[in-house]
């Protein structure tokens, strides 16, 4: 089948780009790492928004919580968090190599689990909401989380936290986190690819198509929705922990809970690629990141207007996204056989019989 061949080519190209990219263009290592983070964003959003039809505007909440949980664990394992944040990096707290790596490992794990746990709890309150109410309710959660963390002095308040410094060179740091970001993007993709083929994935699609009917057919909708949100929160938590360590300094409104930047980007990327498909978010994220970096570099000052126009044009004129467009145009790529002229012949045959 030609599709699997095409898929193999895509895998080969992306893997090759992921491995050779930072080797060929060492100056762009950080940028390509952010690209994989964008891919993670779009994929985790699509689990909810695309596959399940619950369009969340507040998934960034788990990114921020993951980031904060990771940072507090990294610091809190070896120092008093309140003292550390109150100093605002004035007296240098020193982390040895082992302390750094153990802290990072435990921090990322706790970030993932903590975010997943919060998703499970919030799911009980949020999933009674549907449609626009769900979108606005989740947006409200993300907005208030940013403001509340900003007022919480123990974790640094609006001043933020400086994370432990990577115990190596600057290049070593970007390569180290590049590998982690790339690996998480691959792991998430592989997991979601498997998930969408299972019964659970089918149940999610059933909820998207008609929630009431799905419930009538015996799908425990609340449980499925909560688990799906937990999965997306788990990976977003890891992403948040990684991104916090990459930037080295976190702060509630711009870095941890950037509701109107990253929070909307993830929606825009999934829509651009085609929501509800496996490859859509990946392609959308790559394309979006390229457009974004180009406008940020060459149209500074106008970049936000460009972004708004992209979102409008995307939703108004191109709702099906890249994958949806391809599916319409070349259905045989997706294993859908279209028999054009035979249908009429069959009708004619039936009529004569």
């Amino acid at each position: 089948m030609s599709f699997s061949q095409r898929e193999k080519l895509t895998y080969a190209f992306l893997l090759g780009f992921g491995i050779l990219g930072p080797i060929l263009f060492p100056a762009y290592t950080f940028q390509i790492a952010v690209l994989w983070i964008m891919v993670l964003f779009a994929q985790t959003w699509d689990t909810m928004g695309g596959q399940m039809g619950y369009n969340s505007l507040g998934n960034i909440f788990f990114f921020g919580t993951g980031m904060y949980i990771c940072a507090i664990t990294q610091v809190g394992m070896f120092y008093d968090v309140g003292v550390y944040t109150a100093a605002h990096g004035a007296d240098k707290a020193v982390f040895t190599d082992t302390q750094y790596y153990i802290g990072l490992g435990v921090g990322l794990l706790l970030a993932a689990l903590g975010s997943a746990f919060l998703a499970a709890i919030l799911g009980w309150t949020v999933f009674g909401l549907r449609g626009p109410y769900f979108a606005i309710g989740t947006l409200a959660i993300a907005l208030s989380a940013g403001e509340l963390i900003g007022a919480w002095e123990w974790v640094g308040g609006g001043g933020g936290i400086a994370l432990p410094v990577y115990p190596g060179s600057g290049d070593g740091k970007s390569e180290f986190f590049y590998v982690l970001c790339f690996a998480s993007a691959i792991a998430t993709f592989a997991f979601l690819k498997w998930l969408y083929t299972t019964r659970f994935g089918l149940a999610l699609n059933a909820i998207r198509d008609d929630e009431d009917k799905a419930e009538a057919m015996g799908v425990h909708t609340l449980r499925h929705k909560t688990v799906a949100w937990t999965i997306s929160a788990f990976f977003l938590g890891i992403t948040g922990g990684l991104f916090g360590n990459m930037t080295g300094f976190i702060e509630p409104l711009e870095v941890a809970f950037p509701t109107i930047t990253f929070g909307i980007f993830m929606v825009a990327m999934a829509l651009l690629g085609g929501k509800g498909t496996l490859w859509g978010p990946v392609l959308g994220a790559i394309l979006f990141h390229i457009i974004k970096e180009t406008t940020w570099t060459y149209f500074l000052g106008w970049q936000w207007i460009a972004l708004g126009v992209i979102i409008i044009v995307n939703v108004v004129f191109f709702q099906q996204g890249i994958m949806g467009y391809l599916e319409d145009k070349y259905p045989h790529w997706f294993g859908v056989e279209v028999e054009e002229s035979n249908a009429i012949d069959d009708q004619a045959k039936e009529a004569t019989q």
């Binding site: 009674g128 907005l143 509340l148």
Partner: protein
């Protein structure tokens, strides 16, 4: 926090001050929220650019003030200008998302909001602006309660505008057409109502109402290109709490929100004033759900 509550108990006049401020600002929220309820109810479009329209209206007043015209006189210009802007926006964007899935309209208006914010930012700069009305401040109770005259004036304008809109919806042909379309768009079409034109008019009317609200916001409060988001959220809180097509409910919820916000800002500190609004939205959503769950018959 407890100190602030104590202060409220010890100085009852402070309560009157907060209450008055809340009511005056709440009346303006009611206007913007009514516009949202209109668009939501008639066209099923959730307009996330509501707050940006308010801020746009505010810049009309500020600009008038900066070229030496009294800001209040800019209101007719703001209303007409925003009406035209709304009409054009409808033709370009909203008309294509009206019959689509509701999340599409939410995202399209969000994109619109980003464009407006940045456009204002490029045009007028990111400074916090205020349109000076030049009126004096009235004092009551030996100066312990102060109210700027402009707040009284804007309160009266709010009432006049609200009455005008309600009369328009009740009496005029277009108002009747709008109400007919909101009840059943298809039947209205069959009866010969040009629903597309009704939608355009509704959206433009919403923009005009928001523009008028913005003129007053810029005189009694502050405007800044990025201050639109809280206004949008306020409108959503009010409409979600009051329900669609419930004008008295919208007015009560708006006044209540204005007061609650003033108290929240005073008790928790100014940096948590916005959290009060967002927290109220969450509280309303959860409370509505509990209400719904009582009526739910499925087994969970």
């Amino acid at each position: 926090m407890l100190d602030n509550i104590n202060l409220l108990v010890l100085a009852p006049l402070l309560n009157i001050q907060l209450l008055l401020d809340g009511l005056f600002i709440g009346a303006i929220f009611a206007l913007a929220a009514y516009g949202l309820a209109l668009v939501w109810g008639v066209m099923n479009v959730k307009n996330l650019a509501q707050g940006e329209f308010v801020i746009m209206g505010g810049y009309f007043a500020w600009y008038a003030g900066s070229i030496g015209i009294h800001p209040i006189l800019s209101m007719p210009v703001a209303i007409v200008g925003m009406f035209a802007f709304g009409w054009v926006t409808y033709r370009l964007i909203i008309s294509r998302v009206v019959d689509k899935d509701m999340f599409i309209s939410l995202l399209a208006t969000f994109g619109l909001a980003i464009v407006i914010q940045q456009g204002l930012n490029l045009a007028f700069g990111p400074e916090v602006q205020i349109a000076e009305s030049g009126f004096d401040t009235k004092e009551f109770f030996d100066g312990s309660v102060t109210v700027a005259t402009i707040k009284f004036i804007s309160f009266i304008i709010c009432i006049v505008l609200a009455v005008a809109v309600v009369l328009f919806m009740k009496k005029s042909r277009m108002g009747q057409a709008i109400r007919a379309t909101s009840q059943d768009a298809r039947a209205a079409k069959v009866m010969g109502i040009d629903t597309d034109r009704v939608y355009a008019f509704t959206y433009a009317l919403n923009c005009a109402i928001c523009g008028a609200a913005g003129v007053m916001i810029s005189m009694i409060w502050v405007i800044q290109p990025f201050y639109g988001v809280p206004h949008s959220i306020r409108s959503f809180v009010i409409v979600v709490a009051a329900g669609l097509g419930n004008l008295p409910g919208v007015v009560m919820a708006a006044l209540g929100l204005g007061v609650a916000e003033q108290y929240g800002g005073f008790v928790f500190g100014a940096e948590l004033q916005q959290v009060t609004v967002v927290g109220l939205l969450l509280a309303v959503l959860v409370w509505r759900q509990v209400q719904m769950r009582r009526n739910r018959q499925a087994v969970q």
